[in-house]
């Protein structure tokens, strides 16, 4: 079952560890009061602290610390009551102070774990080494002018969490599942919006290869700033292939930082180990060590929302959904909330089938997300109630849902407007059936001579004649009775 690359010399195993940079949801930046909101005209969300004005000092934003603690708790990780901020020194045009404030030696969150689900239904546990807080840099813009570069400091100083995994990942699929799961947890916690297009989450991917069963790790390469789950998976594949080829040709993989070019589907060297920065980390003397109280951590823990794994277990317990179904329903908090609004106190099986079937199909068809669904949860619930109380049958309900999506009208209104109320009048059903049987005397005799399959034909004809509104159970019952005459 394990993922293997087959080279000329046999099979290879891949070893991957991820550093995910997740932008913390907070109003202000990590060390200044400037807005941390995405977008905005260039250089409008910038304080004198972010821009590195002389004499300016950082002051820690408590909400960012709370978000890191919440995330740590969500990753079942150790919360370090003592942590510290260090300066990572390097020169770059979009780093105004010449150093990034980060947590190098003493991160706020220690080891934890993430359980990921794989396509074959199995799960794997991926270890989290640490989570630390750090500032984002600004943005250099090189494509506005032939000779000049521009700097936008809106992002400078925005709070990031760097979440470092253990080198536990063994396939592109696991890497994708890990990032997805991480994103799901952060979104549930409300600590990161997980929006990879806007750069709220990016990953540095560390890849090495080795022979199955080999002890220790071979030299790894780090692929920087990969900004989608698909690219994470692709770059691992491409990079692992490259490394296998080097080893098989008798070469040595150099430890280096690389970039993934998804257009050409290759990784390219950015800088070698020799050119690696010496970041000269040291404790930031402008900031005191960060000491938090266990009681505060406990308060944050008590206020945490229900996390995906717990929600999944509960949905299975309370609504009798399958393991697969619970996985789909908790993919996003909004889906789970929607589902519970529909299913609570109703026919849960019916709710599950409709939600995962026709409702999702309608979302796909209209290209809408659960947040701006054309049909609200309570409207869907009303529709299902009409099925449960036999006002309409399932087939009619599909038609009603389509109408709801189109017009936004309520299910009841549509049923009234179109006269779709199910016919439960046995007299009307009997009349319709007698007419069908009379018009198909040949089929009736075939049926009677043993061609049982024709029963379905009669059902179909009856429903067609009744424009789909006949109660299916009553139609069946009446047909059996009349055919037996």
């Amino acid at each position: 079952m394990s993922y293997r690359i087959t080279g000329n010399t046999g099979e290879w195993e891949i070893v991957v560890g991820l550093e995910v940079h997740a932008q913390v949801v907070s109003k202000a930046k990590l060390f200044s009061g400037a807005s941390a909101e995405y977008g905005g005209e260039p250089n409008t969300h910038v304080s004198t602290i972010d821009a590195g004005f002389p004499g300016m000092l950082p002051v820690l934003n408590q909400e960012c610390v709370a978000q890191a603690v919440r995330t740590g708790l969500g990753l079942n990780a150790q919360i370090n009551l003592f942590s510290r901020f260090d300066r990572k020194n390097y020169f770059y045009a979009d780093l105004p102070t010449g150093y990034q404030i980060s947590q190098f030696a003493h991160p706020i969150v220690g080891t934890g774990k993430v359980i990921v689900d794989l396509a074959d239904g199995s799960t794997r546990e991926i270890g989290v080494t640490r989570l630390h807080l750090e500032q984002d840099a600004g943005k250099s813009i090189h494509d506005q002018d032939p000779t000049r570069s521009f700097i936008d400091l809106n992002r400078a100083g925005v709070c990031l969490m760097e979440i470092v995994s253990e080198p536990d990942i063994r396939s592109p699929e696991e890497a994708g599942a890990y990032v997805r799961k991480l994103r799901q947890i952060l979104r549930y916690l409300g600590t990161c919006d997980g929006n990879m297009e806007e750069g709220s989450m990016r990953a540095d991917v560390n890849v090495s290869v080795r022979k199955p069963g080999e002890d220790g790790f071979r030299t790894r390469c780090e692929i920087k700033n990969v900004n989608s789950i698909r690219y994470v998976m692709q770059c691992i594949e491409v990079e692992a292939q490259r490394q296998v080829q080097i080893w098989e040709e008798g070469g040595e993989v150099d430890q280096e930082t690389r970039l993934f070019d998804h257009v050409r589907s290759e990784t390219r060297s950015l800088r070698s180990k020799e050119d690696a920065h010496d970041y000269r980390y040291f404790p930031d003397p402008d900031l005191l060590p960060l000491i938090i109280e266990q009681s505060w951590v406990d308060e944050l823990k008590a206020a945490l929302p229900e996390l995906p794994e717990d929600k999944r277990d509960r949905l299975e317990r309370e609504y009798g959904v399958t393991r697969y179904e619970s996985g789909v329903l908790v993919a996003e908090q909004a889906i789970a909330d929607f589902y519970e609004t529909v299913a609570k106190g109703a026919d849960a099986r019916l709710a599950t089938n409709w939600m995962l079937g026709d409702f999702f199909a309608a979302l796909n068809r209209t290209g809408r997300s659960i947040e701006d669904s054309p049909v609200s949860a309570s409207s869907l619930r009303e529709l299902l109630a009409l099925i449960s109380d036999s006002t309409i049958n399932g087939k009619i309900a599909k038609e009603v849902l389509e109408d709801m999506v189109e017009t936004g009208d309520s299910a009841a209104a549509i049923v009234e407007r179109k006269g779709l109320r199910q016919v439960t009048d046995t007299g009307a059903i009997e009349t319709a059936i007698r007419e069908i049987l009379a018009n198909n005397a040949d089929k009736v005799s075939e049926f009677k001579s043993g061609k049982d399959k024709l029963f379905g034909f009669f059902v179909g004809q009856t429903m067609k004649a009744m424009k789909g509104k006949g109660n299916p159970a009553l139609v069946n019952e009446m047909l059996k009775k009349l055919l037996a005459e």
Binding site: T48, A51, G52, F53, P54, G55, M56, L57, P58, V59, L60, R87, N89, F91, Y92, A93, P96, T97, G98, Y99, I151, D278, R280, Y281, F282, P285, D286, L287, L288
Partner: protein, 496 residues
């Protein structure tokens, strides 16, 4: 010789309150003195006479209504390391260029809140790095003192050399200084004035251009300790914008001056008897001991065993921080850009090569080196450990004594052309002042006598954390005993 230039800050304050003199008169007298004398002393980088006159008018208006803070109408000079809103701030470096801060440092805004009148921005060693005020991009400051029978230009000490010279020459009633390893105390001693380095965290660092963040501390420099006490009371206080600022009440420092030293235990650290220390420094120290004993203090021999590591440790810790603090002057947003049209790295190199002076470059190089991979443990980390030991020395000592008495500097002011050619020799000026900085404890320097050439010498008192009051009380006893009323050769009110 009595008149407007004989005021101390305290007596001027009293005269202003009593309406015996107006703030405008006082300010004009100081502006005149600066115009007459500062062409020679070079203690100012930027003069702000117009702003000063406006502030003085406002002060007079407040005083007329019986209002005004504790420094209302008092003309002060501001070390050009404090950012001042709307007034160019240079750190005595070419690299900052024409930087006009859009904000006011907390220390100077506290002084303004209390009604002070700012005469301008005072010269210093570039980025406060130096002990002789010879590294300023705006030229050296001359010490207003002269050796007997010599016209050699003496250094005022550093880095707060402009502040010291301006106070000593009577161009300001008081000045702000900053002290990282002795930058208030050593120049105070060299110019015959008083200077206080408060406990680290006592004055906010917000808006003060950083040299070494874990050591930098603002403090007052003035004719005497009463004046310093009045200024410190205004400058000090908690500031939420500086995470290392300490939230503890600011006492009435002026009132503490008269507490005396009866029953006080004064420590004399044996390790400060440095090899080769001039006899006159030893003698002055002994004189200080005798004065305190005579005033009722108990003299106690103490040991600060890690003293000898103070200087090397300081020059590792401080320069490591400085190398990082000065990275922002790179020619992109800050730092006068030298653009060769080449790569970003070339822009950095050209900008920093042209913008920083030799001493600053030397210190950035040392600081970068001690943080480098492979050297970090041997230098930076080791220095941090030794720093803890130095701090422990003081904490142990303070179990037995209340204050510690030492000389401020190993010599009096030297001539500008006697500057040691070996930079390390220059660093030795800080040998007595650095340990208190490393420990974070408060210390002060008071003028206590003259050397054989007739230039002033100072004594240093080192106190307990946040016990500036006892420190000032002990200092005041020395001040009174020494009754140091010599004036420098170049002084306002005296024809030079």
């Amino acid at each position: 010789m009595s008149g407007i230039h004989d005021f101390t800050l305290a007596s001027a304050r009293d005269a202003l309150k009593a309406r015996k003199i107006s703030a405008v008169e006082l300010t004009n007298a100081y502006i005149d003195a600066i115009e007459r004398l500062d062409g020679r002393l070079n203690s100012f980088i930027t003069r702000t006479p117009d702003l000063a006159r406006e502030s003085a008018k406002a002060a007079d208006a407040a005083l007329a209504k019986g209002e005004g803070g504790k420094l209302c109408g008092i003309p002060l000079g501001i070390k050009d390391l404090f950012c001042t809103r709307g007034v160019r701030t240079t750190a005595a470096s070419k690299i900052i260029g024409n930087f006009v801060p859009p904000y006011e440092s907390t220390v100077t805004s506290n002084l303004l809140r209390d009604g002070a009148v700012f005469l301008g921005k005072l010269n210093l060693d570039e980025f406060a790095m130096g002990s002789a005020n010879l590294t300023s991009a705006f030229g050296p400051v001359e010490n207003p003192w002269k050796r007997k029978g010599s016209d050699a230009k003496l250094v005022p000490g550093g880095s707060s050399g402009g502040s010291a010279a301006a106070v000593a020459a009577g161009l300001v009633l008081g000045a702000t200084g900053t002290d990282t390893g002795g930058s208030i105390r050593q120049p105070a001693a060299f110019t015959g004035i008083a200077g206080v380095k408060p406990t680290y965290g006592r004055c906010s660092r917000f808006g003060t251009i950083a040299f070494a963040s874990s050591l930098d501390q603002a403090g007052p420099m003035a004719r005497n300790l009463r004046d310093c006490a009045i200024m410190l009371e205004s400058m000090a206080g908690f500031d939420a914008r500086d995470s290392t600022s300490v939230d503890t009440p600011v006492p009435n420092y002026e009132a503490a001056l008269s507490r005396g030293v009866k029953g006080l235990r004064v420590g004399i650290p044996r390790e400060y008897h440095a090899d080769g220390m001039p006899a006159e420094i030893e003698a002055l120290w002994q004189q200080g001991i005798d004065w305190l004993r005579a005033a009722g203090a108990e003299i106690v021999d103490i040991s600060l065993p890690h003293t000898k590591y103070g200087l090397p440790t300081y020059y590792i810790a401080a320069l490591a921080e400085a190398s990082s603090n000065l990275a922002r002057y790179d020619g992109v947003r800050f730092g006068e850009r030298v653009n060769h049209g080449g790569s970003l790295d070339e822009l950095y190199e050209a900008t920093r090569a042209a913008g920083f002076g030799d001493e600053v470059k030397r210190r950035i190089l040392i600081g970068t080196h001690v943080l480098s991979s492979g050297y970090y443990d041997a230098y930076y980390l080791r220095a941090q450990k030794v720093r803890t030991l130095i701090q422990r020395d003081f904490l142990n000592a303070y179990e037995n004594v209340d204050v510690i008495l030492t000389p401020t500097a190993p010599s009096g002011a030297f001539a500008q052309d006697e500057k040691p050619t070996d930079p390390v020799q220059m660093y030795l000026n800080d040998i007595f002042t650095v340990p208190a900085s490393m420990a974070g404890v408060p210390a002060l320097s008071v003028p206590a006598g003259l050397d054989a050439h007739g230039v002033p010498l100072g004594l240093q008192l080192i106190g307990k954390f946040f016990d500036e009051e006892t420190l000032l009380a002990a200092g005041h006893v020395i001040e009174q005993a020494a009754s140091f009323n010599h004036r420098p050769t170049i002084h306002a009110g005296v024809s030079a």
